[in-house]
């Protein structure tokens, strides 16, 4: 089990506990202060659409910077090296720019309160229910993964039993999200962003210092061809043929998986919806893209350092290279913990532990706040108890937050017992995003697409992704990569996308579309330009606040980074 081994015990001292404790005091304080600004359900679920863009932008990054990213991307760095950067520079950045420039105007402009609500207005209740329920379920399961990771940090640090660690960690997250709503979650995410950076940057610098700088790191890496060049990334995809591997990365990871994740995942989009103006909403993912673009330098590189600096991990890597499938003492997922243990003295150690706790709390709070919004607005208010006064839904929201956290405690124990199953679930849910993205894109630009096409495309796309997943894991089909590499998920996402588009088009041609007047503000060609445009006066003025300038800037720098690490 993760972290249970005594050799992960970090040698924390009083000063480290003080740093961690001080952080928790501030986190809870933010929850209490945010409570005073809540007077309606919109305040609770969308911060009253009042937050400045730098706050929502950093929260946008933090919401995603949970256990899966911090452990997962350092693990990928340790295992695959430089090709891991594709998750950021081919995956996240173009998708975030697309969300800000193309999709946010529809989300924010149509005044929907959630991503499923957009589906409801565009396609009607069938697609709405499919998406609302699958999203709510996914959030509870993923918050369980974050909660388990958080509990295991407390477990290692304080030596409390795992169950107690999980319950106490859940109580902290519950307190500030139930009390302070989305504002508390978002303000804490901004704080968490800075704390996580305060962990990662020194860790990278000290790590590089230890291995003798960049040149020292390069010297010590055994497989220089694959691990020091980002292309063709055959070790990452597990696809032997270089051309197919590049296609898999660009189309599967870049286009389908990442666009699907970043543009339709409500846990992310919600941060933009809480911004105070159309301009701020568009800028949310664009401002977030700048730190996101630099993160691989302090996430992937520490992973690579851990793989050469930590004797345990280096030997595990050598064993796995010689004989894949060997049971090793440590896993790639342990990379960042091993590096923290080996290079950080007390003091910085406390900051790093706080950073880990912050990261998992940010991830979990994002899951929980997205879950309570979708459940309250999209399931409870739409289908179960309609037309109640707003105060009622605010109360439901608080109750659902409690229920969501309790459910996450349950899924955390599933994660504790069946870590691999949770990894599979994670992969599966990533598949759901690919058909969702296809449906969104088609529905946004093709007014002829019908309600029946909406749900049938989603269902067919998801089933086809599932089929690829099963084929890959049973070993029946191997040309798109082995089950333990990333290839099958890239291919599965691509297949899901294509099937969704095909089914949607075929069904649309045989069923009746919605009349044009019901699609205003939801479809590109039927939305007046004015309602997509943002104002550029007052607090939205200045060339550096122009979404197009921000978007162009981040794309150019990302291109340069891509070339440097070619």
């Amino acid at each position: 089990m993760l972290l249970a081994d005594a050799n992960f015990r970090l040698d924390a001292q009083a000063v480290d506990y003080v740093l961690l404790g001080f952080y928790f005091v501030i986190v809870l304080g933010i929850g209490l202060m945010a409570r005073r600004s809540i007077s309606s359900s919109l305040d609770f679920f969308l911060s009253g659409r009042s937050l400045p863009a730098w706050v929502t932008g950093l929260a946008f990054v933090s919401a995603n910077l949970g256990a899966v990213e911090v452990f997962g991307m350092t693990a990928n760095g340790a295992q695959f090296g430089i090709p891991t950067v594709h998750y950021y520079w081919i995956g996240a950045i173009p998708a975030m720019v697309f969300l800000g420039i193309v999709m946010m105007p529809f989300y924010y402009g149509s005044k929907v309160r959630s991503v499923p609500e957009y589906l409801n207005r565009r396609f009607g209740p069938a697609s709405h229910l499919v998406n609302g329920i699958s999203f709510a379920t996914a959030q509870v399961l993923i918050s369980g993964i974050n909660l388990f990771a958080l509990g295991s940090v407390v477990n290692v640090l304080l030596g409390w039993p795992l169950w107690l660690s999980i319950v106490v960690s859940a109580a902290v997250v519950l307190t500030y999200t139930a009390v302070g709503g989305l504002s508390a979650a978002i303000y804490n995410e901004v704080l968490q962003f800075f704390v996580i950076v305060a962990m990662l940057v020194p860790l990278t610098i000290v790590g590089l210092h230890r291995v003798g700088g960049w040149d020292g790191l390069v010297d010590k890496i055994a497989d220089k061809t694959n691990e020091l060049n980002s292309w063709p990334g055959t070790n990452l995809t597990g696809i032997g043929d270089a051309t197919l591997s590049v296609l898999g990365i660009v189309l599967g990871l870049g286009f389908v998986l990442s666009f699907g994740y970043w543009t339709t995942n409500f846990a992310e989009v919600q941060r933009g919806l809480s911004a105070k103006s159309m301009s701020a909403a568009k800028r949310t993912p664009l401002i977030g893209a700048y730190p996101k673009m630099l993160l691989p330098l302090v996430i992937v590189i520490p992973g690579m350092i851990a793989a050469v600096l930590s004797p345990e991990l280096a030997s595990a890597k050598a064993q796995l290279a010689a004989n894949p499938g060997t049971a090793t003492d440590v896993q790639y997922n342990d990379a960042i913990k091993l590096l923290i243990r080996d290079v950080l003295p007390n003091g910085m150690l406390g900051v790093a532990i706080t950073g880990l706790a912050a990261s998992f709390m940010a991830g979990m709070a994002a899951n929980v706040s997205a879950f309570n919004t979708v459940f309250t607005y999209d399931i409870w208010q739409t289908y179960i108890r309609k037309n109640r006064p707003d105060a009622y839904y605010l109360k439901v929201g608080r109750t659902v937050t409690v229920v969501g956290v309790l459910a996450a405690i349950g899924t955390a124990f599933i994660a504790a017992g069946y870590e691999n199953i949770m990894t599979y679930l994670q992969t599966l849910f990533s598949f759901f995003n690919a058909p969702l993205f296809a449906t969104f894109i088609l529905g946004l630009f093709w007014k002829r697409m019908t309600p029946a096409a909406g749900w049938s495309g989603l269902v067919a796309g998801t089933l086809s992704a599932l089929a690829v997943f099963v084929l890959a894991n049973s070993g029946a089909v191997t040309w798109f990569g082995s089950p333990d590499s990333q290839g099958p998920s890239f291919v599965g996402a691509g297949v899901a996308f294509v099937v969704d588009i095909l089914v949607s088009v075929l069904v649309s041609l045989r069923t009746r579309p919605k009349p044009d007047d019901q699609l205003t503000g939801l479809v590109w060609s039927l939305t007046p330009r004015e309602s997509r445009r943002h104002t550029s006066d007052g607090e939205d003025s200045g060339w550096y606040r122009k979404p197009s300038v921000l978007a162009g800037g981040v794309l150019v720098i990302t291109l340069v980074l891509n070339i440097i690490f070619w």
């Binding site: 001080f22 304080g29 303000y187 704080l191 305060a198 210092h209 003091g347």
Partner: protein
Amino acid sequence: MATRGSLFDLRWIIALLFGVYGVVLLILGLGFETDEDRVKTGGFNVNLWVGVAMLVFTVLMATWALVRPLRVPDESK
């Protein structure tokens, strides 16, 4: 709405957290670096330099909050 006025300024909270962290790390780096620490870090006094960096960051955040204070929107929506 009266509630908008009570929105607190996040920048001061960030400054508070990193101010305290910076001072603690700076003191550790200046006075309490052990031989064991030097082995771990390869001789790079990470507490000292991160402490300094955090204090610089604190000053920047505080300056920003002072120069551009949070304005309470007077519109009533």
